[in-house]
């Protein structure tokens, strides 16, 4: 990373942090990388939580990828390399069918996902959204790689300072955002006498089938307004 680039990133992040820690990170990404929107997701195994999103529109798209368990974000994470989708065309539809439909509906023209990775360790994804179609410029790409590196180190160093087994305070909202989804999974597992992981799949399937955000479905289950039945899948 050139000093020039790291300095620009450090300044943008420092300014962002003085506002509101997590939210600031994503607006710093948008400003720095000149994109329409950004989301940073912390991931571990099959679990993930959004650390920040630049706007509600991006939150919906990040949620959608989580609900369906597929999307550029998941792919970038599992292969450990950036995934560029400069056009939401036929091949993108084939790869992530309903995600592309929803993204188009939200007015998105292109998606770029960068894994947060360091020396084989993978901890999350930075996803960039563009309203228009087209590739990132090579300097946008270089900047994105650099930002992903800074984000990786930021997340890891936040967690370094926390006691073992306790999530760092700065990363808390990555989990509180989906706390209800996990609570709902626990409830459904008792209701349907199935393992928690399967209960989570049922909730995802229900949200997808009803075209609802997973958070809304989870909130309904926790508030006991909704009870999934055995054949609701």
């Amino acid at each position: 990373m050139t000093t020039d680039r790291s300095l620009r990133i450090a300044v943008a992040f420092a300014r962002a942090v003085t506002k509101s820690p997590a939210e600031g990170l994503c607006s710093a990404c948008v400003e720095l990388l000149v994109v329409s929107g950004a989301g940073v997701t912390v991931m571990g195994g099959t679990n993930s939580g959004p650390l920040c999103v630049s706007s509600q529109r991006m939150a919906t798209l990040e949620d959608l990828q989580f609900t369906m368990g597929i999307g550029p974000c998941q792919d970038a994470f599992s292969i450990g390399r950036p995934v560029h989708v400069p056009r939401l065309d036929g091949s993108a539809v084939q790869r992530w069918p309903s995600f592309v439909d929803e993204a188009r509906e939200a007015g998105i023209g292109a998606v770029f996902a960068y894994p947060l990775t360091t020396r084989g360790a993978k901890i999350g994804v930075l996803t960039l959204y563009q309203d228009g179609e087209g590739s990132l410029s090579s300097s946008q790409h270089d900047d994105s790689v650099a930002v992903a590196r800074v984000l990786t180190e930021t997340v890891l160093s936040l967690q370094d300072a926390a006691p073992a087994g306790v999530l760092a305070e700065g990363l808390e909202n990555a989990m509180t955002y989906r706390a209800e989804v996990h609570q709902a999974s626990g409830m459904v597992s008792i209701q349907l006498k199935i393992p928690v992981a399967e209960a989570m799949l049922r909730i995802r399937a229900h949200a997808f089938a009803q075209g609802l955000p997973i958070g809304v479905v989870a909130a309904d289950i926790v508030a006991r307004r909704l009870r999934l039945t055995d054949d609701s899948q």
Binding site: G44, R119, D160, V166, H182, V188
Partner: protein, 261 residues
């Protein structure tokens, strides 16, 4: 140069190149640092016409340890230096600069090490540091069967080999470090998730809200002297019955097998 000497020089050049390629090759992807260091000791013996070579590395407690040796005897000689806190390798490690002595039968700074090395058949020694900038990780020790000094060119070659090995070690350390940090984050994320899941299970079984469910979960963990995450994991995995928490009674002690884990 005689034909014989010329042949040997050529052979050494080829072997030098091969050694560097061999070590750099090993650095790609998933390499085993011990294997790289074993190659390094074997090749430095061949290239520098030494009788034997050994590598010492500093561990996390700051103690030097014998990591590789081309012969058993050299391993013991390296240990001897550590145990007696004296010898060329220790001086090299402490100063971060190369140390050599062409004839140990003449006065040396190591009254205990010198006779031991001579007895083992190594009258000449040389040690070069494994260092990256200010970080000194250990040293490479060369033992010769004749009381002759290595030439400057030979010492420079030994140092170049040590430098490459150093990159391997530093890379390996960073990779391990990243894996450990990833593990911590993963553990913290999973712990949060599993607690939420257990809360949901208790809340549903008893018909209470999440706050109350969390209070019961914590109460159970405290009274059974177990961690919150551990109990939550037990509930989600089915090894701790949800009912044992819902009834608010004192839990039975964990089974022997579970305690041993």
């Amino acid at each position: 140069m005689s034909i014989d000497a010329e042949q040997r020089a050529l052979h050494r050049q080829a072997l030098t190149a091969t050694t560097f390629v061999e070590i750099v090759d090993a650095l790609v992807d998933d390499f085993d640092v011990i294997e790289v260091l074993t190659v390094l000791t074997a090749r430095s013996v061949e290239l520098l016409e030494a009788a034997a070579a050994g590598i010492l590395l500093v561990d996390t407690d700051g103690q030097l340890r014998v990591i590789g040796a081309s012969t058993e005897q050299v391993g013991l000689l390296e240990l001897f230096q550590i145990q007696n806190d004296e010898g060329p390798c220790l001086d090299c490690f402490r100063t971060g600069t190369g140390v050599s002595h062409a004839d140990l039968s003449t006065p040396s700074p190591w009254p205990q090490f010198a006779p031991e090395s001579l007895r083992a058949g190594f009258p000449s020694v040389c040690a070069v540091p494994l260092r990256l900038k200010d970080l000194i990780l250990g040293c490479l020790n060369l033992f010769m069967a004749e009381p002759v000094a290595l030439s400057d060119a030979e010492i420079a070659l030994a140092q170049a080999l040590a430098d490459v090995a150093c990159i391997a070690i530093v890379q390996d350390m960073a990779t391990r470090d990243a894996a450990i940090r990833e593990g911590h984050l993963q553990h913290a994320l999973n712990s949060r998730i599993v607690i939420e899941q257990a809360k949901g299970m208790i809340a549903e079984r008893v018909g209470i809200d999440m706050e109350e469910a969390f209070a019961r979960l914590r109460g159970f963990a405290r009274s059974s002297n177990r961690g919150l995450t551990e109990v939550a994991e037990g509930i989600v995995a089915g090894s701790v019955a949800v009912d044992s928490i819902t009834h608010g009674r004192r839990p039975p002690p964990p089974p022997q097998a579970a305690r041993q884990q």
